[in-house]
């Protein structure tokens, strides 16, 4: 039959369109799915106090992974471990292993290289009291870049990547402190990007910002995904839901040590969490 449902050209086009549904997944299509961080059996203590227990987690390359959970469950502690920010905290002790691209960050990568590869953005925008230009140029200069032309290109590129260039291009030599909070935060992101990291850790990057500035940062993070691996700690569950591809939930289960009670694609965590604890937290029944 010429005009059959299966053979008709119109129908075939429709079926093709239908097949394209599968590509509307929130997860961007990336080549392979190899881990950026492999975290195994991490236990972390401040003196006698255990604050993280048996954290096992694989953070995939190129995606946004968010870490959510009530206050005091060790989310920020966990994030800071990923570039060894806790090394200098008195009494801090870590057990277990964290591998970046297969190499142990405590034994096989020196901390300077680690922080070069794994940048960090904090809750309060913290630009240096220098010009906008010098803030972005700071990292590359520290790494020995002196060529003026190259520096200029790098600064412009980083500011463009952080969606800030158009707003500051005529005032690059003004103090960074003259910028608004949202602009300062994007400047801090530009500053991190200037040293070409593989990973950006973000600890509550929007909690000091108004909703529009927050949306701008969220949009920026969405653009950076794919090229960078992003790990974001946020108190704002809806923010985690909106922007991340994977979500991990930290909770206190038996005592004061945070545990990872759930990890999975954000869509699944927010529509059908596996753990009853996660469900109770997301629906506001505990926390």
């Amino acid at each position: 039959m010429k005009n059959s449902l299966v053979e008709g050209p119109g129908y075939l086009n429709q079926v093709k369109a239908v097949q394209s549904w599968e590509r509307t997944e929130v997860l961007p299509v990336l080549t392979g799915n190899h881990p950026k961080f492999e975290i195994e059996k991490i236990n972390f203590y401040y003196g006698a106090l255990q604050v993280l227990r048996d954290i096992n987690l694989t953070i995939p390359t190129g995606y946004i992974t968010s870490i959510i959970g009530p206050s005091g469950t060790g989310k920020s502690t966990f994030l800071r471990l990923l570039n060894r920010m806790s090394d200098l905290t008195p009494g801090a002790r870590v057990e277990g292993s964290i591998r970046l691209e297969g190499k142990d960050i405590f034994t096989e990568i020196n901390p300077v290289d680690l922080r070069y590869r794994v940048g960090m953005v904090f809750q309060m925008p913290n630009p240096f009291p220098k010009s906008i230009y010098d803030n972005v140029a700071y990292g590359p200069r520290m790494h020995g870049l002196r060529d003026k032309k190259e520096l200029e290109t790098l600064v412009e590129g980083s500011l463009r990547e952080a969606f800030l260039w158009d707003e500051v291009k005529d005032n690059l030599h003004l103090s960074a402190l003259s910028l608004s909070g949202g602009q300062q935060q994007r400047l801090c992101i530009a500053r991190s990007l200037a040293v070409a990291p593989e990973v950006l850790l973000l600890d509550e990057p929007c909690s000091a910002l108004d909703p529009i500035a927050t949306f701008k940062i969220e949009q920026l993070l969405a653009e950076l995904a794919g090229r960078y691996t992003l790990v974001i700690v946020t108190h704002n569950m809806q923010q985690a839901a909106r922007i991340s591809h994977y979500t991990g939930v930290f909770m206190l289960v038996k005592d004061q040590a945070g545990e990872l009670v759930e990890f999975g694609p954000t869509n699944e965590v927010f529509t059908n969490p596996k753990s009853p604890t996660t469900e109770a937290f997301l629906t506001g029944r505990i926390g």
């Binding site: 039959m1 449902l5 239908v18 929130v26």
Partner: protein
């Protein structure tokens, strides 16, 4: 910088997917009637088989809509599009079932040629598909006026159904040998009439998306009553 670009893109995709689902239902309706009138039960079988695709896609659509609701906090019109869409895909799925019903009838009638030829079932099917097409267009174009007009045109389908039914009753009364087939064709016409009813439902949802108003589009009988 456009804020929430990714969410906007996903919402657009969701609407495109809804239209695609509607197109599949339209094709199924057209081909089911074609199979019935041409006595082509291979084609009827394909319509039946493909209904499972429509059913699966409806669930897939709902799943994607729920994910957007759970993760993206849609408000205002974005929220209405998703809420309306969940109802619309339900209507579309049922319309697909009606198309399958027509294909089943074709199979029940076996391989015999039609003994009551010449009934305007194909014209009725064309009309039903045209209205569905316009309803889907009103959804994609956010056209409340078009939705209102299309919703009221359900009367045209009702009139056709009444005429076909009258003709079939005539046949049943005059020739007992044709009662079986006439009964089958009456059911097929009824399926088409139900598809048109659900098109009106879609139009009501489109008006809700555009205006925020939940209102029923009155059918002819209630319009006549209101003149009394």
């Amino acid at each position: 910088m456009m804020l929430r670009e990714h969410f906007s893109a996903e919402l657009v995709q969701l609407q495109v997917n809804l239209t695609t689902l509607g197109e599949l239902v339209k094709t199924a309706t057209r081909l089911a009637v074609e199979a019935l009138l041409r006595r082509d039960n291979i084609l009827a079988g394909q319509v039946i088989e493909n209904d499972t695709v429509i059913n699966q896609l409806r669930f897939r659509w709902e799943e994607q809509a729920l994910q957007l609701l759970a993760t993206q906090n849609p408000v205002a019109r974005d929220l209405r599009v998703i809420a309306a869409g969940i109802h619309i895909v339900d209507d579309l799925e049922r319309m697909g079932d009606h198309a399958k019903g027509i294909a089943r009838i074709s199979q029940l009638m076996g391989d015999n040629p039609l003994v009551c030829p010449g009934l305007p079932l194909d014209t009725m099917a064309q009309k039903v598909c045209e209205l569905l097409n316009l309803a889907l267009a009103s959804f994609s174009n956010r056209d409340a006026n078009l939705a209102g007009v299309v919703g009221r045109r359900d009367d045209e389908v009702d009139e056709m159904y009444n005429r076909i039914a009258a003709e079939l009753f005539e046949i049943m009364f005059s020739d007992r040998g044709k009662v079986g087939e006439a009964n089958h064709l009456l059911w097929a016409a009824h399926h088409l009439e139900r598809i048109a009813d659900r098109t009106t439902n879609i139009c009501e949802r489109v008006i809700f998306v555009c205006t925020g108003q939940m209102e029923e589009i009155p059918g002819m009988s209630s319009r006549l009553n209101s003149h009394k």
